[in-house]
Symmetry: C2
Subunit: 215 residues, 2 copies
């Protein structure tokens, strides 16, 4: 049973200011906060698990936001990393106030990177600044290459796009170049990584970028 | 270019009453309205395409709700079926008033079944009665068998669960019996169909159930 925090709804009127304050506080403490967003089942926890295993020198903690259950926090804890399960009281996204509650529950112990694994949802999380230094979205190969056309805001708000489950590329009718072109049309500055957390393909470029964000 | 309707936001205070009124009106006109919900990329349009092809005697129309693009309506129209693209003005779900706008745009031409393909989202659509006679959710094999644990409301609100992309079962670490057991724990009355729209596996049972709902 992972430690689970029941989040309280926060006033969103001041969300942008709250987010900026949290971002500055964490930078001051030397913590990189990364907000991970995607559809349900795109492989956020699997990407994190492999990243934690690949980077033993980096102290990583994870805030797992879900409506219910603690299965993701348990998976991260099984790797020996610090994880907290956040329950969102039915909410479809995480805002800055909720993220601050999670950071407070993590305590003052130092760590290099905190991942906020947002609620699985390709729409609502893009509308709320969580206070993260970097916004990263995942798109898994089985979901299809048309997602940038249907969910443009998420692609526009993300610093990086991680295309996951690349080992399944030959099985699904996914046009990788079309997906990249559509994402870059929405967001010319987006960094794109193509990975398989199962085989390890592409993990090095993703992890190199992540470490470069710490500086 | 498919015909696209820009939906207006509706007053949600009366949503339940609006939904009931729409449901009764459509029943009176002999139209079965089916609300299809799932994560992005679970295969809603592919399931519909195969269903339309398999049931040439049944007159089927589709309301395709998305934040942007008309790619799904174009896919349905290419099969010769009637399709309208609904744009939700950024909204993460469809409610009864929006569905009524779509039905009005379809016009008075008779059809046996209208599918409302809801916005790809495993959370918010479950909270709004659209006026449908049946709520159907999809869970694709690549998403994982833990989804009932994380998104319980969607499973509770659905009359049927269609587990899609069954042809990929051997490739992914998906425990079919665990997924079924978790869904039935939340909703003992839920009907479960396991299909692959690619190979046709299981489509007959799904289509038989659908036709039985018309009576």
């Amino acid at each position: 049973m992972a430690v689970t925090i029941e989040l309280h709804k926060t006033v969103t009127a001041s969300n942008d200011a709250d987010a900026q304050a949290l971002r500055e506080e964490l930078a001051h403490r030397g913590i990189l906060l990364v907000n991970l967003m995607s559809s349900p089942g795109s492989g956020k926890t699997t990407l994190l698990s492999r990243t934690i295993t690949d980077l033993p020198e980096t102290s990583i903690a994870v805030l797992e936001a879900d409506i219910d259950s603690d299965v993701d926090a348990q998976r991260i804890e099984a790797l020996g990393a610090k994880a907290l399960q956040l329950h969102t009281d039915g909410m479809c996204h995480v805002d800055a106030g909720m993220t601050a509650q999670g950071m407070a529950a993590l305590g003052k112990a130092g760590c290099d990177i905190v991942f906020l694994e947002n609620v699985g949802n390709l729409i609502c999380p893009a509308e709320f600044d969580t206070g993260a230094h970097k916004n990263v979205m995942l798109l898994s190969v089985p979901e299809g290459d048309d997602k940038p056309l249907k969910y443009p805001l998420m692609f526009q708000k993300s610093d990086a796009l991680v295309i996951t489950k690349m080992d399944a590329l030959s099985y699904f009718n996914f046009d990788l170049e079309a997906a990249k072109r559509r994402a870059m049309h929405l967001n010319p500055d987006i960094r794109i990584f193509c990975v398989s957390a199962r085989t390890g393909e592409g993990m090095d470029a993703w992890e190199e970028w992540l470490l470069s964000c710490m500086n």
